[in-house]
C-alpha cells in the first residue's frame, strides 16, 4: 500500500474518474470521443480492482489478474470498434452518432 494514504482516498479518485467518463459518454456526439470516455470507465474499474487487492488482500493476486484481463479486453474492444468506425465512415462519410441511426447495413 502507499504510505499514509488510506483506501478511501484512492477509491475517491477512481469514483471521480468513473463519473467523468460517464459524463463524457453521455454528452459526446462523436463515436471516437465516446470510445475515449469508455476507456476512462474501464480504467476506473481497473483502479478499483488493484486498490482493493492491495489494501484488503495483499498476499493474493486475483485483482492483478483481473486487471490484466480487463486491459486485454479493452485493447480488443478498441481495435474492433475502430475498425467498425472506419468501415462506417466509408459508408456514411461521417462519425457523428446522429447520422448512424440504423444498424441494418
Amino acid at each position: 500500500m502507499i504510505e499514509n494514504i488510506s483506501i478511501y482516498e484512492l477509491l475517491t479518485v477512481s469514483t471521480i474518474l468513473f463519473f467523468i467518463g460517464l459524463y463524457g459518454f453521455l454528452t459526446r456526439k462523436n463515436l471516437i470521443a465516446m470510445m475515449m470516455a469508455i476507456e476512462l470507465l474501464l480504467n476506473a474499474a481497473v483502479i478499483n480492482f488493484v486498490v482493493i487487492n492491495k489494501y484488503l488482500f495483499p498476499d493474493m493476486l486475483q485483482g492483478v489478474y483481473f486487471s490484466i484481463f480487463i486491459i486485454a479486453v479493452a485493447a480488443a474492444e478498441t481495435a474492433l470498434a475502430i475498425s467498425i468506425i472506419i468501415n462506417l465512415y466509408r459508408l456514411k462519410t461521417s462519425v457523428a452518432i446522429t447520422e448512424t441511426e440504423t444498424m441494418k447495413y
Binding site: S6, I32, L40, K54, V64
Partner: protein
Amino acid sequence: MERVFFYIFAVIIIVFAIASVTSKKILRAIMYLLMSLLAIAALYFMMDYAFLGAVQMAVYAGGIIILFIFSVLLIHHVEGEIEEPSKMRKIGMALLSLLGLGISLATIYSFDFKVATKTATTSVENIGKGLLNYGEGGFILPFEVISILLLAAMIGAIIIAKGRKNI
C-alpha cells in the same frame, strides 16, 4: 513524501480526464487522455505493482492511444472539431453525474473496509506462476480464453475494416 506525490498524480488524473471529455479538438482530447493514463500507471508503480504499471503504459499509452490517433487522422481533419451538445444536455448530464458521484462516495465512506496491516511484495515471477497455474485457484483457463479472444478480435478487425468491395 508519498502523500505529496499521490496528490499530484490524483490531480493530474482528474484534471486531464475532465479536459479529455470536454475538449473540442479531438487530437487534443486524445493527448489529455494519454496524460491521464500515464498518471494512472504512476499510481500502480506507487502501489508496488510494477508489472501492472508497465502493462498499462505499454497497452494503453503505446497501443490504444496510437489506434485512436490513427483513426482520427484517417477520418478527420487534423484540426477537426467535435460537434458540441446543447447546453441543457450538458448541464443535465453534469447534474446526473454529480448525483451518481455523491451516492457512490456516500456508500464508500459509510462502508468499513477491513484494511490488512501486513504488506507483501509481489514479483513478476509470482504473477506469471499464478497466471499459468492449472491447480487450485489457477488462472490458466481465463488466460487461454483471453488469448483466443485477442486472436478473434484481430481477425474480426481485419475483416471488418477491409470493406466489402475489394476481396
